[in-house]
Amino acid sequence: MNLKSLKRKWERTKVERRNLVAQEVIVEQRESWIDLNTIQAKVIFTIVSILLFGAIWELAAKLINNHVILPTPISSFKALYLLIQNKIPLGAAGVGSFESMLLQTLEITAIGFLLSSAVGIPVGYLIGRWRAAEAIIDPWINALYAIPMVALIPLLYFGSGSLIPVSVFDYQGDLLPDVLVSFIMTVFTIIINTYQGVRLVSNSLVEVGKAFGASENQLTRHVVIPAALPDIVAGMRLGLGRALLGAIIAEALLSTNGLGYTMLAFQSILNTPYMVATIMVIAFIGFVLLQTPKLIERRLFKWKETERIKRGGNE
């Protein structure tokens, strides 16, 4: 694409945006907003944006001139390359191989997530359908949402040794507390979103079902679950992010392996390039875990006009 035509397209989109309205009001016109020109321009801008970010980073690093506080992007990417090659710097105590830390984080995330879904969706569904008690369930839900579950970690960890005999699970004993942390950070997100989805299934839909003589079972299968599904799935997506956050926090606080631990281990030897590299790996996993389901959701729930950006990522 030559620069001139790009500039022309850019000018056009700019004018379009400036007349925000007039252009936007009419439905036909609004569609034209996302035409090919804009998408092409968008790709170019994404590339420019990435380069610009890199340049700013490089410049800032050069200005600060202290690789402990901010390493240059090049040294960080170099560290990332070496990290993936399993070239761990000396002194980083107990840092395992790249595969092992990646696998551990993913394992904790996966198990935490699956466990939370298995528990959270039925629980959220049941309390969502239990209209008779919503006045007292609501405040509890609000409270559970507000409470920082991370505060429970020390209780779980230092307590769980005697509370839950590890042998009961017969699962790699040392990961149990991590999985529990990931679970507890995730399960309420899934409960709450399921609960809200079920609660918000419009009464008129349920009434239509009843008018056609649907039994409670049929109502569940054909009306409530399909109608609440977008919210349940959105909750699961958020849950995926939470599970990852839980895994990283658990590793950082309790474990001796995994990306969470590694990140802090590099911090403690003040090897910031490696630390930033580890953070980049975590960011990448987070990005993939949160963005991929979005694409699937868009295809799955075309019938529902969902807001394009579901707020409430995984921070």
Binding site: R17, V21, A22, E24, V25, F45, T46, S49, I50, L52, F53, I69, R131, A132, A133, E134, A135, I136, W140, N142, A143, A146, I147, P148, V150, A151, P154, L155, F158, G159, G161, S162, L163, T189, I192, L238, G241, L244, L245, I249, A252, G260, M263, Q267, T272, V276, I279, I282, A283, G286, F287, L290, Q291, E307, I309, R311, G312, G313, N314, E315
Partner: protein, 264 residues
């Protein structure tokens, strides 16, 4: 479904559920019968007495709360001060939108704790670090919601304003900004919740400052009743802040049924 007895007498019943909760806690603690695994409500009550009676503990408790609240608030206020203008800027200028948009989703997907070690390098194991974490977490919630709000203001509000010959500046101050307040409030509500969580995580990692540090420290010493007492304190603070934000939301956006919040 008709309004049930429970819904009609919500407060007595709510109170009842709290009593039931404490009772179950008491019974479970009795059955477990291991103060290191689960301290019961009675020993937790004693821990509160300790917290206030022992002067050294009391001083630590007060400085911890101070430091935690300060980190949360200052970080959050800073995030509001920066997040709202940036969000508006992004929603308003196509150039800024195109340049920043690719990063928003990426930053937003990063688990908050990933910021912690970086911040530790900048400001050490201090409450300043916790403040920076609070800021970094809240600011993205705010930016992304303000941005979405500004970008998606209904044409049915913008068009009449244009028809009445509104200036570009007035369009923002009189129409787009007020119309985005529901989104802005959603951003603030999500932001504060996450900021609290982020500060607690950071403090637990540092384990020397704030309530998070104190929670971690007491648990490490296996003083579980103290840990539970502190967890309850931070939970109550969180719940109170959440209700405060909810109240503000209803005050500011009185003209609109607040839409269901997606909770992450």
């Amino acid at each position: 479904m008709s309004a049930s007895i429970v819904n009609r007498y919500r407060y007595p019943f709510l109170f009842l559920t709290i009593i039931v909760f404490v009772a179950v806690w008491w019974v479970v603690a009795k059955i477990v019968n291991d103060p290191y695994a689960l301290a019961g409500p009675v020993s937790t009550a004693k821990a509160y007495y300790q917290l206030f009676a022992q002067s050294s503990l009391r001083n630590l408790f007060i400085t911890s709360i101070e430091s935690t609240l300060l980190s949360i608030f200052l970080g959050f206020v800073l995030a509001v001060a920066i997040g709202i203008p940036v969000g508006i800027f992004m929603g308003r200028y196509l150039v800024v939108d195109y340049l920043v948009d690719p990063w928003i989703n990426i930053w937003y997907s990063i688990p908050a704790i990933a910021f912690v070690p970086l911040v530790m390098n900048w400001a050490g194991l201090t409450s300043i670090s916790a403040l920076i974490v609070s800021f970094l977490i809240a600011v993205f919630s705010i930016i992304i919601n303000v941005y979405t709000g500004v970008k998606n203001v209904s044409a049915s509000l913008v068009e009449p304003a244009i028809a009445f010959g509104i200036s570009k500046r007035a369009l923002y101050t009189k129409v787009i900004l007020p119309a985005s307040t529901p989104n802005i409030m959603v951003g603030l509500r999500l932001g504060i919740t996450r900021a609290i969580e982020g500060v607690i995580v950071a403090e637990m990692v540092f384990s020397v400052v704030g309530l998070g540090g104190m929670i971690f420290d007491t648990a490490d010493k296996l003083e579980m009743s103290l840990t539970i007492a502190l967890v309850i304190v931070i939970s109550l603070i969180s719940i109170a802040l959440n209700y405060l934000m909810k109240y503000l939301d209803h005050k500011v956006v009185f003209w609109k049924e607040s839409s269901a919040l997606k909770r992450g």
